[in-house]
């Protein structure tokens, strides 16, 4: 049900970014890039208790007129960003959380793959399939 899914490394460059429909890719790249600022703000929020400091799931980062952007940071400072269509109001928080869970599990599998060098773009077919399964329902 997602429109765009991105995995960003701890140095803030994208390891994996995929969106449908594929014509407007640049717009999604831009959206994900601007959401990184919000992510940084959330993980460094010292005094405010807006986000539970110990949780990995960051929740809704910011809504635009067409889309809602959600974020998740792992302990290794890798960020996952999911962009969903605003018109799809049936999506509950739990579903987004479970999508991030699946993303994290697949990312861990990619990390443990001996053919993968940390820091390279993700090219694993298994990861691709998992992401496709999460995105296919939109069309």
């Amino acid at each position: 049900m997602a429109v765009c899914i991105a995995v960003i490394a701890k140095e803030n460059y994208p390891l994996y970014i995929r969106s449908i429909p594929t014509e407007n890719e640049l717009k999604f790249h831009y959206t994900v890039h601007t959401s990184l600022d919000v992510v940084e703000e959330k993980i460094s929020a010292v005094g405010k208790a807006l986000v539970d400091q110990r949780e990995l799931y960051l929740g809704l980062l910011y809504p635009t007129e067409d889309y809602k952007v959600y974020g998740y940071v792992t302990n290794s400072k890798v960020k996952f960003v999911i962009v969903v269509d605003s018109s799809n109001t049936a999506l509950r928080d739990n579903e987004i959380r479970s999508m991030f869970r699946k993303l994290h599990n697949s990312y861990t599998d990619v990390m443990c793959n001996p053919f993968y060098n940390p820091g390279d773009p993700i090219q694993s077919k298994a990861f691709d399939n998992m992401v496709s399964a999460m995105m296919v329902q939109v069309c």
Partner: protein, 158 residues
């Protein structure tokens, strides 16, 4: 986790293999130790990703070190670190009084000169784990009496 004997045997064979396949010149200048350490580094990165999948976010460096001493060490070596000391300026000393990978070798001073080979992989393991958590460090190990050993971690401030 699988039975720890499996990893110990594999680790010992790994060290034998690296030294056997090294050329003459390499043995003296410590290239083998570096190779073992780099292997440990990559393994550490992957292991940490798996272990921290479900844990809460780490508040600061000390939190990271405590995680390494307790959860990480328990998962890999089936026991916790016995003593953690720090000077609060980026140097941590982890003391393990009965290091699993050395326990089978000797109980005193015998074979002391071979100990560094067997510690290289574990040093890399710790360095890889820390690097994936965002902490750049240099990890060294020293043994005075087997099987107790001390790992010294120097945090590199960017």
């Amino acid at each position: 986790m699988a039975d720890e004997a499996l990893f110990q045997f594999l680790h010992n064979e790994l060290i034998q293999y690296v030294y056997k396949s090294a050329e003459q010149g390499e043995m003296e200048n410590g290239r083998c130790i570096t190779r073992l350490e780099n292997m440990g580094f990559r393994v550490g990165q992957g292991l940490i990703e798996r272990f921290t999948k479900d844990t809460a976010r780490f508040k600061d460096e000390l939190d990271v070190m405590k995680f390494i001493c307790k959860d990480f060490w328990t998962s890999v070596f089936k026991k916790q670190i016995d003593n953690l000391r720090t000077n609060h300026q980026g140097i941590y000393v982890l003391q393990d009084n009965k290091f699993r990978l050395l326990a089978q070798m000797s109980g005193g001073k015998q074979y002391l000169e071979h100990a560094p080979k067997y510690l290289a992989f574990s040093c890399g393991l710790v360095r890889g784990g820390l690097s994936n958590l965002g902490v750049k460090s240099i990890v060294t190990a020293e043994v005075s009496t087997m099987p107790a050993c001390k790992f010294q971690i120097m945090i590199q401030k960017m």
